[in-house]
Structures are given as structure tokens and as C-alpha cells.
Symmetry: C2
Subunit: 418 residues, 2 copies
Amino acid sequence: MGSGVLDLLERHNGFFRDSLGFDFELKGICSRSQVRLDRFPGRAPLMTTHPMELAKHPDIDVILEVAGGEDEPKAWVEAAFAHKKHVITANKALLAKHGKDLFPLAEANGRFLLFEAAVGGGIPIIRTLQESFIANDIHGLACIINGTCNYILSEMTGKKLSFESALKAAQDLGYAEADPSFDIEGTDSAHKVALLASLCYGKYVDFSSMSVEGITTISAVDIQMAEEMGFAIKLLGIVSQDKRGIQANVYPALLEKRHQLATVDGVLNAVFVKTSAIGPILLTGAGAGKLPTASSVISDLVSLARQLATGNPQAQPMGFFSTRNRAELIPIDELETEFYLRLTAVDKPGVLAKVTAILGEEGISIRALVQKPEHDPEHVPVIFLTHATRNANVSKALKRIDVLDIIQAPTQVLRFYR
Amino acid sequence: MGSGVLDLLERHNGFFRDSLGFDFELKGICSRSQVRLDRFPGRAPLMTTHPMELAKHPDIDVILEVAGGEDEPKAWVEAAFAHKKHVITANKALLAKHGKDLFPLAEANGRFLLFEAAVGGGIPIIRTLQESFIANDIHGLACIINGTCNYILSEMTGKKLSFESALKAAQDLGYAEADPSFDIEGTDSAHKVALLASLCYGKYVDFSSMSVEGITTISAVDIQMAEEMGFAIKLLGIVSQDKRGIQANVYPALLEKRHQLATVDGVLNAVFVKTSAIGPILLTGAGAGKLPTASSVISDLVSLARQLATGNPQAQPMGFFSTRNRAELIPIDELETEFYLRLTAVDKPGVLAKVTAILGEEGISIRALVQKPEHDPEHVPVIFLTHATRNANVSKALKRIDVLDIIQAPTQVLRFYR
């Protein structure tokens, strides 16, 4: 990541100097690994394996933090603010875990903490929410914000792979880590969605209060059943606000194929925003990768320079959510949506009667029932599609259904996104 | 348009004041029509039918110009700059025709001329090019930037309508003017593309030097033939740069259906940018309409206020193309692309031989030949698809082909966009 930032800075600094009047001087490079550091011989006066050396250096104005990790970089960023430096970060995990401390610290020190690169890689969603949509209320937002998951689901759909094979393919291509849990369990998406939700509503959304589901339970049968019904399955970050409050969740959802997000495939990211004045608007592009992320880091650097060039850096903070103003999230139990329930049941008469009775008792109205023996003749998948219903009702019903002796495996629960 | 700006300003001014520290005061409203002006009783202290009264008013800092027209608003904007006001405009025709005078005038007076609303309505493409992509070279850009044309082509495709019926439908819905020529001949698209091209390459692209084609010659047969071959026809603004220079053109093009722009239907606009660091990136949304456009006007107003609040408004111009630096466009004759040629020929032996001979003599290599009698048994459409070839060669060949007595109507020429 750091090498991308370095490359773009060196490549475009002449333009920044000649056309914009900003001449950025690279004071130092830090990598905790001496081996990595040795890859950049002579590219900066100060080369160090000690981050604090940069964070505390008297001649440095801005720290570009692209290291990863959570607790270690927190200490560097704190030191940087204490030493009156601005910080630009690509580190969503850092902000998700420690943003509630770091944003106020930036403010208290009259310094900027910018993070365009932390969400959606090269997609300019932070600046767009902060500036372009400023005369809009945000009714809601849905995003495909983790390229690893989107790649896996796209491969499962396009090539009819199992989750395991698609994950393996993603790992072989470098799209998934050796330990992929951070991506496939939805954590990375949630880190980003917490930041987006905070910007949408001007209130700090704490990552830890979100409901987060990943894609590990999605099977080839689910993908294929969805396909046959005209839907794609995507891991979505979903944010909305109504009079009850703010919802911010991450879960795999069934999207109508003609929805603009349904055709966003592979490692692409996309953010779909429902705005009050503009209406729906979509931004799609590379959500990760060295250069896309570096591009956003450098665009933040230029924005910062514009701000500093005015001689009054504290005049206007560029973001406008306050960590003092905390969002109380509506729990996912209160979410109302349509559900896809795939039961694994023994092939006995009376199964459907028992299940439908429980669904009815819990106030869940059934929109459709689909049985597709061709997918698995031994364990015929039985799929219930429900009308919009409260998530809590579904949870309650499944607690009763999944303990029935006719049920052979936990019921797969997916939600629709409209 | 003005009423949308007024509504958004009134609706969000409390937020701007409380959260951003900007309290915008509406000093005056001008409409040249007294009847329209009377629709806003008491909403501003100064109500006038004389634009110059606002442009010269000593207490006004910013003029929001959303009137339309070219020469009249030029005079107001000039007066506004002379009286040290900033100008925010939604008027692409004004900028296309008079930008070469107005941008330098703004600069000479130390004032801003902002125009996010002039291109793509609510899509934040101007700010994105100016700020978010600042560490990228722009390899090229393709956009669907006129909702009227996109609606007509979508209707022709989806409902198999003729151009005339689709235009009528667009007029009935208010998507096309009574005199639609400005839209359907590509002029409006070209106005916007000139601005986009200027921002992509930091050089002033003069609208009048562009090659501009509209959609008036597109027939139902073309749409259907394209469909059958797996392509959609869209009116595109296309901008690119290579070592020979900059190209900026507007023409209807055949796009592979899986291209992200091919599924942008109806009145939606979209801008697809090929960037050096981020890769391809797409922005899609409402490209016109009262509120989307007003949203961009107000976002410019807030950006301007941020800049002015620094106490050093001239520190950084927000745009970065200079009208002193003029782009020499590569003429469309030099464009190299694949072509779709639909001939209307008599059904006689020897026709194909004559036509292919001429194409060969002009150095045009044929990729495919398609005859589809089912579309029109009397005048069987004969379609040649070419390999990539210079536009000039095709023009030359058609000058020879279209005068043959076996040819009954001018050959339809469309280009592919890859």
C-alpha cells in the first residue's frame, strides 16, 4: 500500500506544484520491516522502522497511515495529533475500533483526520457524502463494499462453484487472505458501513453495535434458487433512517437482478445511495488494491493542502459527524423485510403442515413455497418466501422450527433487499 | 429550476447554520417573468424582473444563475464578476458558448465560477474529476449525459418503438421539449462533454471544435440489429487522450450489453471514467430535473462558503483548467474504431461485390456481413461490420458507395465503443 502512495505522489507532484501550487516534500518513510524499507532506497531523507519517529518528528506536517492493524496505529495517530500533525488514513479497522477516541482527539488538536481511502478504495464516496450530497437527506444506502466477498459470490453464481471452491479461487488470485475470516464474516464490510452510516446521518455509529453477518453459510443451492427466482445474492451493507431511528447492518441479501447493484460483479465495489433531492445514485469502481487506495490517500492530501493553504486550517472541518453525537441503532430484531428460509427437512408427510403452523403462529405470512428436488434429491430443499415481517418474529419461529425432529440442519435465513 | 434551489436552501439552511456554521441569507430572487416571480411571495427581500439589479447589488456576494439562455446570462454574469460576486451556474449552454470569456473574467476578478449542476445534474462528476481523481491520469471517459436521448433510445429498445413514437412519448412525459432539436441532435450533450474534456486534461476544449452527431437517424432496424448482435445503442460523449492529442466527440455508439453503461436506461445519466490509478469507475444518477440540479447548485454554494470562510478566497481555485491553455482536438477523421454500416440497396446480384470492392480499395477490412430479410423484406438491410479503421476511410468509401445507382438511401453509419 505504501509503495502505491509513494508512486502516485512522485508521479503527480510536478502537476500539484505547477498547476495547484502545492509542492509536497516527502520527509520520511516508515515500515516496521527493514526488508520492506530497503525496497525504497533513497526515496526519503528519513527511513525508519519506528513509526513514532515520524509521528513525533518536528518537521513533518502530515502522516499518511496505510499500515493496517488497530491498536498499534492508534498509538501512532495519537502521537501524531499530540505533535500537531494531520493524519490521512486508509485504515478502516483503526477507525471502526478507535474512531470514537481519534476523531475527538483530532478536533481537540485542531487537526484533520481524513479517510477517503478507508471506504470503497478509489470510489470517492466519503467526499461525495460530505460535500456533494450536503443538500440531501439520505433515505438509505446499500453497498457492496468488500471485494473478496463479492468475488466469491460472483464466482459461485457465474461458475456454479461451492463456497469452498470459490474461496480457494479467490485465495489463489490474492483476492482473499490465507485467513479470510475478517472478510467473509462481514467484519471488514461492517467497519466501512459504520463510517458511511456516521456520515449519512451526522451521528457516530459505533461498529460494535451493528448486526453483522457474512457469507460463510451461503451454499450453491441458495445461489441457484435465487437465480431461478430472478435474484442475485450479494453481501450488502445496508443503512437507513426512518422516524424510529437509524439502522446499519451487514448481511447477504437477495437483490432483483435488474437492480443496479445486482450487476456489480467480481472484486468491484459499489455504493448505492437513496437521496432526497437527487434520487438514487450509484458509484462503482475498484474498492481495494494498492493504486486505487493510494489515489484516495493522495486526493485527501491535496484537499488538506487546499485547506491549509488558506492560512486558517481550523475554519471548517471537512467531515461533519461528531463523536459527541452518538447514534442509537435500531436492533436488527426490529428490521422489517421479506425473508428467504431454506429448510432441510426429512421427506415425510406433515412436515409442511408443522412448519407453516409455526410460521403462522409467529405472525409470518408466506408469499411462496418452492420445492426443487432436482437440486438435492436426498435432502429436498424447501424454501419459504415470506411477506415483509419483523426479524424478531422469524428468529422466534426458527427457534421452534429448528428443534423439530423432522428438521435435519439449521434453517438458512436470507433477507431480500428492495 | 429556481424554485428547486429556493426549496433546498430553505430546507437545509438550518443544518448549514447549526452544523457547518454557514447561515445563507437569500437577498433576492429574479425572474424575467412577473407571473413566475409572483409564485414566491415574501421569500426574499428583493423581488425583481431585472437580473442586473441582482448582479450589481452591493449586498449580494453570490449569484446562482439557473435561468438558461446564452447571451443574456453572459451579460449578467459579466456584471456580477465586475461587481465582485461569485457565480454558480447550472447553465451548460452559457459555459459552452462563453466559457472562454467567463472563466478568465472570474479569475481576473478573483471570483469563483462554479458549475457542478451544469453537467450530469445531481451526479457529482465535476467535483470528482477536480478533486477525487487528482492523482490520476484520465485515459478516457464515456458518458450518457442527455436524459432525453437516453429515454428515447431506451424506449426504442424496450418497446420496439420507432424514433418518432419514442420522441412523442418523451414529449408527452415532459422529457423532451416541443422543439427537441437541441437534445436529439447532440448539442446539449456536446456542451457538457466540452466541460468534462476540459477538466480531464486541464485544457480548455472549445465546444465548437467538437464533432457532434445526434440520434435522429437511428431507426428501429438499427436498434434491433444491434440487440441481436448483443449490443445496445447509446448516445455517448466520448473523450480520450493519447500521444497524438485529445479527442472529444458525441455520437450514437454500439456498446456491448455487458458494458456498465449499456444498462443505464431511461432518463438516467452516467459517466464512466478510465483512470490510471483507480481503473474504470462509474457514476450513475439523475442527470436532470429540478431537485437534482438544485442539489448540485447548493453543494457548490456550500463549497464556496467553505472556501470563503477561510478568509483567503483566492488561495486556491477549485477548478484547474485554464482557458489560456487551449486543447487542439484531433479531428474525428483520425478516429480509429469499428464501424456498423447499414446499406439500403436494391436486391440485385452484384451489389455486395461492388460495395466490398470499394470498402477494400479504401483499406477497410470487413469483420462481418449480416443480411436480415425479416426486418424489411422489400429493402433488405445489409449490414457490414468493419474491423477498426480510420473514420476518414469510411467517409471516403461512403461518398463513393452512396452515389451508386444500386443504393437507395444514404448508408447508416454507427461506431462501436469498446
